[in-house]
Symmetry: C2
């Protein structure tokens, strides 16, 4: 299974594509899509749409996964990230991909065997699991690789992980 | 000038198209795009993208306006609405439209002459301005018409109203 993981953001959106066969996992590619603060918001969203579409075109994933985000009381940041996340989910829907959503603790449990793993532990486990010389950088790309790995490990064993809860 | 106004939302997105020539304004169409809570989120965003694209195709606006939204401490709602708003802004960018953003008080001032106008006053002014038998319904459509009217009245007198602030 070839999974595209996404760590959504407006200024920096992380992505990673992982191929899994049972316990074996290979990193096919990862990176970030950056948009500049001085660019008008609609143009930034268009840049994300185009760049993420190019990633899909190049890597042809057959599954997609995204991390569930919480912003506490920061509704301004939630709105900004939500706009980028909406565009990312649209790209996946346009490609006909089902999208799974995972809580951060679930990603940590699946990748590091510990739902309370810290950032360094996660980077170390991602590096070892994928037999890389160094953990993927920047952090947003590493986070996206982790959620892709989580899905690659988890999806074969669950009946239904499709995202479809937000009722607003 | 033909302006498309948008009141963004995931379950209900309001839209309205208004033609303005100086003080004269005509309503060309308005409505809402609804998506069902039981539909997976990516599919709901795809529905919004498709339906709003059809509105643009049909009405061929040459400007677009959207209301600035505040959610206080409700980051969960901000995230949900943000996702729909991001897709709406993407549709406008894909159509090559500049997008203006207005605070609710500015919309009220422009349409009702009172930045503190309540919902009933706003509906009444929208109805009279556009010489309608009744105010547009539902509320989300009426709100979208109001922001379109605001832009139609305001844009000719300001040098720069383009949206481009969110730096996150």
């Amino acid at each position: 299974m070839r999974t595209l993981g996404i760590d959504p953001g407006l200024a920096t959106l992380g992505w990673g594509v992982v191929e899994t066969h049972g316990d074996a996992a290979t990193l096919l590619g990862c990176g970030v899509i950056r948009t500049a603060a001085h660019t008008p918001l609609p143009a930034r969203l268009l840049q994300i749409h185009t760049a993420l579409g190019a990633v899909l075109e190049h890597h042809q994933p057959d599954a997609a996964a995204i991390e569930e985000l919480f912003f506490g009381k920061n509704s301004t940041t939630a709105m900004a990230v939500g706009q980028a996340r909406g565009v990312a989910l649209l790209v996946l829907a346009q490609a006909g991909l089902a999208v799974a959503e995972y809580k951060p603790t679930v990603v940590k449990q699946a990748v590091a065997g510990d739902g309370g793993a810290d950032k360094r532990q996660m980077q170390s486990m991602v590096r070892m699991t994928l037999r890389l010389a160094a953990a993927p950088t920047p952090d947003d790309a590493a986070d996206a690789v982790a959620v892709a790995l989580c899905h690659g490990y988890t999806a074969p064993f669950v009946r239904q992980v499709a995202l479809g809860r937000a009722d607003r």
